[in-house]
């Protein structure tokens, strides 16, 4: 079968041409931001950089970084680069890490964002013949709006389900023969679990693909979802700060997400020094948006830790690929001095045959950190003696210890006792009160 692209010429453009395009757009964008955003102009002035110092992507490193704290400081309109009357939309972050950040869009910004999402849908095999069930939350959250717009652009039949009401999701999925589902991976896992409970086999639905993002998830979870729904699961990446989902998307290779480089420049930096690291290094991901009019962020420091690769992809796309982020740096827990990502614990659970339904509780007792992991027991794992259950707890604790280097207390609990999420899953409860 011939490979499908939404915008073939751009998506398969030779790397040199992409870089030339980025350089040209960057110079214009820096000028636009400098002239229209006083806050950013101050930052540049303080750093002694003038727009004419930026003559191409090789000069990008001269620009100052901005981060979430800048956005909080300039809330709500301090980053606006066009008259507010030219804006047609507001979206906002989910607020999972504190105060919300809002983003504003002109018609042009929405258009490009939806193009990015359309590329992701086509890369996942979507065509105008498909029925795309959008089960991301609608509203301020960018998930629903982004994939909804992308699906329209592709010409697919769009089901604007929003998240939640799982019974209805399933009914529509089966009655209207949805072929592609878009939601958070944890919600996809929950839908799969519910289908099974209702007696459906993976082949009973019509889904062929799923586009999942907005929260970190593991390879193991991907395989789990693929099995339970009978689909191929594609990762999608984005941040409200850069527009929303669609900054990067996965192709059929499922080996990293192609960054839409005609609209964004990605850099990997050393989180401590801010120094730009060579391709293939692990570090913090930084984005510069090249085409956005209303909310154009230059060198925005995400909290995602990952690796970029320019290695040739068999799908024919030439855009650089980013590996699945290890987790946002603010998902990382420091427990007894050890860095712990919840995704590491998830990997162990899935490897050991448990469902990805878990809760991690961290507390401090007598000045020592405690780590408790609550995991749901599956019916086939139930033993008729307490020893059998306790042995399972110990074995799982040992497996996690091997992965993390610190020993958790594992608690096996009945199914459905860990709250399910319809949007972003809250899996970590940190009860330590270190700062008052």
């Amino acid at each position: 079968m011939e490979k499908q692209y939404y915008q073939k010429e751009i998506e398969t453009m030779p790397v040199e041409k992409i870089k030339a395009l980025q350089s040209e757009k960057l110079c214009k964008q820096v000028k636009h931001v400098y002239e229209n955003v006083p806050y950013y102009r101050d930052l540049m002035d303080k750093k002694g950089v003038r727009p004419e110092d930026i003559r191409g992507i090789e000069d990008l490193h001269k620009l100052p970084f901005i981060s979430k704290s800048d956005l909080r400081e300039t809330y709500p309109y301090g980053m606006l680069a066009v008259p507010l009357s030219d804006c047609v939309r507001i979206q906002s972050t989910s607020g999972t890490t504190g105060k919300r950040v809002i983003a504003y869009y002109t018609k042009h910004d929405i258009d490009l964002w939806e193009d990015c999402c359309a590329r992701a849908i086509v890369a996942a095999g979507g065509t105008k013949e498909d029925v795309v069930q959008v089960a991301y939350g609608y509203g301020l959250f960018t998930g629903g709006a982004g994939l909804h717009g992308g699906s329209h652009k592709v010409g697919s039949l769009t089901l604007p389900m929003s998240s939640g009401n799982t019974e209805r999701q399933i009914q529509f999925m089966l009655d209207l023969k949805s072929t592609i589902i878009c939601c958070t991976p944890s919600y996809a896992a929950y839908i799969g679990e519910t289908l099974k409970e209702q007696g459906y086999k993976p082949e009973d639905n019509f889904l062929k693909a799923g586009i999942f993002g907005a929260e970190p998830w593991t390879e193991e979870m991907r395989r789990d979802i693929e099995k339970s729904l009978g689909i191929k699961a594609y990762d999608i990446y984005g941040l409200t700060e850069t527009s929303g989902p669609g900054v990067a998307f996965e192709c059929e290779e499922q080996n990293g997400m192609h960054i839409n480089e005609d609209h964004f420049i990605a850099e990997i930096i050393d989180p401590d020094t801010g120094e730009v690291l060579p391709e293939g290094s692990k570090g913090k991901l930084v984005f510069t948006s090249l085409d956005k009019e209303a909310f154009p962020l230059l060198r925005y420091r995400t909290r995602d830790i990952c690796v970029l690769s320019r290695e040739k992809c068999s799908c024919g796309r030439t855009f650089i690929r980013m590996a699945k982020p290890m987790g946002r740096s603010d998902d990382m827990l420091i427990i007894r001095g050890v860095n712990v990502f919840p995704s590491q614990i998830e990997t162990v659970l899935l490897n050991e045959g448990y469902a990805p339904n878990y809760r991690i509780e961290v507390d401090r007792v007598n000045n020592s950190d405690t780590l408790d992991v609550y995991v749901e027991l599956l019916p086939e794992q139930l033993s008729d003696t307490p020893d059998g259950v306790i042995k399972r707890e110990k074995d799982l604790s040992s497996a996690i210890t091997t992965m993390l280097g610190i020993r958790p207390t594992v608690h096996l609990v009945p199914p459905k006792t860990i709250t399910r999420s319809e949007g972003k899953a809250v899996r970590v409860v940190d009860k330590r009160k270190l700062h008052d």
């Binding site: 409970e197 027991l377 019916p379 086939e380 139930l382 033993s383 008729d384 003696t385 307490p386 259950v389 306790i390 608690h411 096996l412 609990v413 009945p414 199914p415 459905k416 006792t417």
Partner: protein, 141 residues
């Protein structure tokens, strides 16, 4: 004989047990015997009921954790030393008993004993050869 025991995982939480027993009542499941093995965090309920499969399906539908475990049901006479006699036979043949519990048979002359042995099949044969009667007639499934 080998009979089906309904094994249920119970969290150590107020109301958890009553949720289970209510569910069984709603599904017209008659409990014949019940024993609990408990730890500080959770308990494992072992039940002999008239409709174990119906009960299990109802539990799963409700999101509760249960399974069917095979155990041995045997009848002993309601006399001093009768249980001891049964256990001695098993011990002599080297069969280890993991747990057991007893309940009344409905007749004054006998009691029913539920035994989970490391080797259920061997234990069943030993008891049968020693003249112990099988129990039957209360399970519909």
């Amino acid at each position: 004989m080998i009979i089906k025991q309904l094994t249920v995982f119970a969290e150590n939480k107020v109301g958890y047990l009553s949720e289970i027993t209510e569910l069984l009542a709603e599904n017209h499941v008659d409990m014949k015997a019940l024993s609990i093995a408990d730890t500080k965090d959770f308990g494992i309920l072992r039940l002999i009921v008239d409709k174990p499969e119906t009960a299990l399906a109802a539990l799963h539908k409700q999101g509760l954790l249960g399974t069917i475990t095979e155990v041995i049901g045997t009848e002993i006479s309601n006399k001093t030393g009768a249980l001891s006699k049964a256990l001695t036979v098993l011990a002599k043949k080297g069969v280890n008993v993991e747990y057991l519990y007893a309940f009344l048979s409905g007749s004054e002359d006998s009691a029913y004993v539920v035994i989970k042995a490391t080797d259920n099949l061997a234990a069943e044969k030993i008891l049968k050869d020693a003249g112990f009667k099988e129990i039957s007639g209360f399970s519909a499934e």
